[in-house]
Subunit: 326 residues, 2 copies
Amino acid sequence: MQSIRKKLIQAFSESKGEFLSGQALADIAGCSRTAIWKHIEELRKEGFVLEAVRKKGYRIVNTPDIVTENKIRLGLQTSTLGQVIHYEESVPSTQKIAHDLAGNGAVEGTLVIADEQTAGRGRLMREWHSSLGNGVWMSLILKPHLPPQKAPQFTLITAVAVVQAIEEVTELQPQIKWPNDILINGKKVTGILTELQAESDKINSIIIGIGMNVNHSIEHFPDDIQSIATSLAIEQGAQLSRAEVVQTILERMESLYTLYMKEGFTPIKLLWESYAVSIGKRIRARTINGTIEGTALGITADGVLKIEDQEGIVHQIYSADIEVNI
Amino acid sequence: MQSIRKKLIQAFSESKGEFLSGQALADIAGCSRTAIWKHIEELRKEGFVLEAVRKKGYRIVNTPDIVTENKIRLGLQTSTLGQVIHYEESVPSTQKIAHDLAGNGAVEGTLVIADEQTAGRGRLMREWHSSLGNGVWMSLILKPHLPPQKAPQFTLITAVAVVQAIEEVTELQPQIKWPNDILINGKKVTGILTELQAESDKINSIIIGIGMNVNHSIEHFPDDIQSIATSLAIEQGAQLSRAEVVQTILERMESLYTLYMKEGFTPIKLLWESYAVSIGKRIRARTINGTIEGTALGITADGVLKIEDQEGIVHQIYSADIEVNI
């Protein structure tokens, strides 16, 4: 059944709004016209609006703002990322599910996505607010043949992909706050959490969690974060298709990941620095070993943040919370 | 119930074969004498031989060669490692269970141990033969506050702990073959698999799998590994208590882990090199980037193997299969 649905969605993707006859769909999917009709009904139940015209066939005229497997697959232009999709309406944490899948043989590019997370979390196990139906809460499984020490670079690759995706679907200009936040007009719109399962010298799976506020209005945020959080809709002044946001992230990510595996981190580093909010600014970095203040110089080839303090000493920061404009 | 059993085992551990009265045990465990009697019966069912003498009480006079929680706890001298024990008779892989526990909040030192693994595996997902009732198949969860790049050092710490444990319970002289094999008389007796769950810059859990052939006779091994595998019993000419082997590994490991967290890798490195089979010898290292032949010089402060080739170039090997005496 699953493969018929995939072929159907693929056919509608390629027809770009043109009618497809029931017989054509049956031929493409390798099933009966009755089976096609059943799948069409399933899509309608999911919220897809399909027009059916005698002697012409079917076409999709409207789709709801959902992030189901069918919706994300419709029009997705990737070869690996998001080609396997696990959608659930509500989960404790997409990251947790992705970890379980990764430990049980999930293929590269597997996407876990939910409409709601009841126990979403960010870096250092911090709570991440992820309400129903207005955000993108997703986790992506990659399986690069690399040692674990390369993992921090994936936070930076993902940050660039997210910025490029936002630029593509809106007119906004997001910025990256090292290591894992995306800001618009100084407010946080996206957090990234890179985790891994590995042998000591070899990554088995990288699990990249992305939490993005898309269609939130300000009242959707808890009081205590209203001054520091924002959404694409608030900044753009219009609602967006969450599925299109996800598709665009997957497409940008696939392209940057391919570039990275071929050319290494250097091209990513240049892109990252061009989007970074902190470079050249005075920042404060709170690390587990203490607080360092100074000027952010950039990142190293390994993705480590360099800060020059007042005495001119350059510190390499592997992990910290950053305050900009102190 | 579980905590009564723990206190009971603790009391028998400390009494070292002396009688403990039913009342004394009830006082220690904070329960009725009837409850004590029920727990004693449970221990008997597990295979413990308890002598009960009127007006004297109970003492343990014999224990079977089992690796249950009670058996490992009896006499265990650690403060953290093995203080939480998950025993199962047969599992696909202790490593898999430990991963699941680690992802769900298992505490540092949690031990997973089984009498049999039906799908045990070694490095690079290779099959590891782990038959019923004669080996030590265990996984240990550690939660050090360290970055992921320190993980390979844990294979080396564990190798030293295993060698010291074997030296303590036998008269054998094991050697370490970089990175993760323990040999006796040139044959493999133990494999170590270090895996991790991490954020990109911070280890959440290190999961150390140890597979040790203890009481195997040669016929226990599949034909194709009889020439390269051995057991402690084969080499020592006598059967051993598997629980004692586990306890000794946990005790040596706790002591080395404490040393490492306090003093860093240097003292471990010196111990490791003193046990290493390959140092100063001609070896062949097969890596994913090709094969390097040369003289093994030792390991770096990071646990990386150094090989000097014929041209005098020193190669740093992060991951490889090693052949010694080529």
